[in-house]
Symmetry: C2
Subunit: 132 residues, 2 copies
DNA sequence: CTAAAAAGCGTTATATTATAACATATTAAC
DNA sequence: GTTAATATGTTATAATATAACGCTTTTTAG
């Protein structure tokens, strides 16, 4: 079992929005969607995002500057993340593959660097978009 | 053999700067360093960067919004990139490991997506920083 | 060759993403 | 119940990136 994080009000509002979204959300999209709930400033959004990323409830898709909810119950802290990104429809899916994560977590480069984290983004066309 | 790209003046100026740098450079750092050479506006920098990325002469480190020269003669088009990033000194190295690239290029996820590209960033502490 | 297409350039303005700084409030730990 | 840590609200601003326009140069195909 992992530590339960009791989200604060702002964190909960923002997590709920991201969690129910079918696509990654950008910070200012989030802002415009939560203004009716009293979150008025970018910084309020970024602070909540920072915390949610830190505790692994959401992930940042670096190539898109957007955020999605963690779809992988085992990555409570986001130290090993992999995503597939459709370059046509922009659908993003978190990849949960123990073979892949094992391979990458054990990867050693020749420079002798000690890795504590990785992020992998695959790009291509999803099934739907291939046939278009 | 791959296609030789003749860089234009702006592209060459900017590539030279990135290539001789020991660390990833940000767009506005680049701008301030090439103003004496007549490149005055952000867009001139971004256009050159876009092209240099497209032809594989440089790569963007997504987590840092910064650019480094390709250190891997075989990746003329940047479709398969991997980097190690030291979270202490911010040193970035391009990983050139045929086992890794083979593994990732052949990776198939269960969603049946066809991948044409990937980018992997490892984070940790480099040898120097571990002992500090 | 040479005309047409493609790529690049220079410039101004502006959009988008993210953080600094400061005062106050809430929560958790002892 | 005081203290330390975390979170909040707010204003301002920094940092990153693109839109739109007109013009020039280079490449390509006939």
């Amino acid at each position: 079992m992992h530590k339960e994080h009791n989200l604060t009000k702002n964190q909960q509002i923002i997590f709920n929005l991201i969690d129910k979204s079918s696509e990654p959300l950008k910070a200012y999209t989030i802002l415009s969607n939560v203004q009716k709930k009293g979150i008025k400033a970018p910084l309020q959004v970024y602070r909540a995002l920072d915390k949610l990323v830190e505790i692994g409830k959401i992930h940042k898709i670096e190539s898109r500057n957007a955020f999605i909810a963690c779809q992988n119950s085992s990555c409570q802290v986001s130290k090993a993340t992999a995503f597939s990104i459709c370059e046509s429809c922009e659908k993003v899916t978190e990849i949960s593959n123990s073979n892949l994560s094992k391979y990458l977590s054990n990867f050693k480069d020749k420079a002798g660097m000690k890795y504590s984290k990785y992020n992998l983004e695959f790009f291509g066309l999803c099934k739907k978009c291939i046939t278009k």
